[in-house]
Symmetry: C2
Subunit: 322 residues, 2 copies
């Protein structure tokens, strides 16, 4: 699995319910939306995966910890410590403290993630895409800047601005020199199936496949590579993504995202691409692009619909292998 | 004021109620019980002073924040992150986050303390004794060590062991190369009165006067230097100090502690020393040592008794000046 946060975590949880205990699942998490806040290293996607699979996620928000409290956040605001727009819950802060202290002591993010998972037992091997610092910055208009634009951290765009202004570009700072984390390339090369769950193609899956070596591993693995469209009926399941993708000139459609990844046969990343039943009209354009595709229900509204989507995804992978 | 935590904070609070708005008070806080915990720089005495004078202290515990919660602590324990014996409250953690981030950015502890006090408005200028790292370590017996002893951080001795084993020695790691923080020596040199409030002579006042330059400033200031005994009726007001002092061979009596500081006229640090009325039998030994002394009620049990002690202390200083 190559995964962002919520969509990937939900899909992976469904996957765990569909496989036997012998099945080994490696989840390669996006780290390009990681951010340093108040001296703490925060890894939103890794934490969403860890908390969701480990049973600690807030079931309503779908990020952060269940039964969370906010004393630290309120106190930081009372000190005037910026930024105030990112919600660091008290329980969550403990995760970041452990992570930050281990990183300061010289451990890699891979080591730290493994250590945190000793507690959470997510049932998968959770790997960061890279131990190197990569940060997605979004270019927005800024009248006060001489260039008329400025780049802000993805989290500022997403959490503070709620994607309410047009995104002119996304710059992945550090991506050229980032190396895949230990085990990432091997996991892809040796996989039976590689799945891209419904995650944002630009800021979640995008950075993972942009790490030098990971795209190549996807193109050359003997495993089928299949993905699930994060776009349903012409809109992202979580609405803010529409605005982001639209501003970047990405066609906000199941077919647009699938053809953007492209078919492995023609130098792309995918063998197969699942779209929602409401997007059945996109099948032709995807097939024309060389992708094996099917229209099935994509909404993961409960355990059963998620399980069925997992089965449909694995079935498409088997078709692609054949 | 040269101050440790609770006793000094309580006395200083009383002092603020006894002086006019024009009076400038500088409190030089002990930093030798500072400790790094979970990657955070914790300054127990500075924080007790800041929270007490700023109205944020827990009134029962007399350390840490009022209406404190403990989610971070519980979560750190769930991760198995050591140590688990030090109670970092959620609100308190925010203080340490702001401090640690500023220190990491290159600010001095003096700068950081000033910044934190912008919020707390303690009504005094609060200075750390030094910006350099100094840590009191307590030497205790250890059968498993080849030397039969080992040194542990003061906080471990105090908080984890609750001073329940004999202290063989106190080592102030880093003290030789520590420099007084900016403003400390000047504050003592230019003071009208220097007060040692009732704080532990070994682990609170001891480190402050051991910083090279601070003891000399006390010996040479034109201001009278007066102190208040932390020992009442042959015991420390907060009992654990007895065990610590006893183990170190310090006579646990008002007279013993006063003569240990010694009179400035004979190379010591004090002009005057207040003892409790119950310790009036100690006046002779103190006067023999060259100290101006009086027996007055020392228990700061409420606002009025604290105010009276402050007045008695300032009166003794005026006597010493004359």
């Amino acid at each position: 699995m190559l995964s962002g946060g919520i969509g990937g975590a939900t899909f992976t949880q469904g996957l765990l319910g569909c496989v036997d205990d012998e099945t080994e699942i490696t989840v390669i998490g996006n780290t390009a939306d990681d951010i340093w806040l108040h001296g703490l290293k925060v890894c939103p996607d890794l934490d969403t995966l860890m908390y969701t699979l480990g049973g600690g996620i807030d079931p309503e928000r779908r990020w952060g910890r269940a039964e969370e409290t906010w004393a630290v956040k309120d106190e930081l605001a009372a000190y005037g410590a910026e930024p105030t727009w990112f919600g660091l819950g008290d329980r969550d802060v403990a995760t970041h403290l452990v992570r930050t202290q281990m990183l300061s002591a010289g451990y890699s993010l891979t080591d730290v993630t493994r250590a945190l998972c000793v507690r959470w037992q997510p049932g998968v091997r959770l790997l960061p895409m890279s131990d190197d610092r990569v940060e997605s910055h979004v270019v927005v208009d800024d009248e006060e800047s001489p260039s008329g634009r400025r780049a802000i951290h993805f989290q500022e765009y997403w959490v503070r601005l709620r994607a309410s202004v047009p995104a002119r570009d996304v710059v992945m700072v550090g991506i050229e020199s980032a190396r895949p984390a230990a085990g990432v390339v091997e996991a892809i090369a040796e996989a039976d199936v590689v799945v891209l769950p419904p995650s944002n193609p630009v800021v979640s899956i995008g950075p993972i496949v942009a790490v030098p070596g990971i795209g190549e591993a996807l193109r050359t693995t003997t495993a089928p590579v299949v993905g699930v469209s994060p776009i349903i009926g012409g809109g992202a399941v979580r609405g803010m993504a529409d605005q982001l993708l639209d501003g970047l000139g990405v066609e906000v459609s199941a077919g647009g995202v699938g053809t953007r990844y492209g078919a492995r046969a023609t130098g792309g990343l995918l063998d197969g691409w699942l779209v929602d039943t409401s997007d059945a009209d996109q099948l032709d354009v995807l097939e024309d692009a060389g992708l094996r595709t099917r229209a099935v229900p994509l909404y993961m509204s409960d355990e059963e619909t998620t399980a069925q989507l997992v089965r449909d995804t694995l079935a498409l992978a088997e078709e692609a292998r054949a």
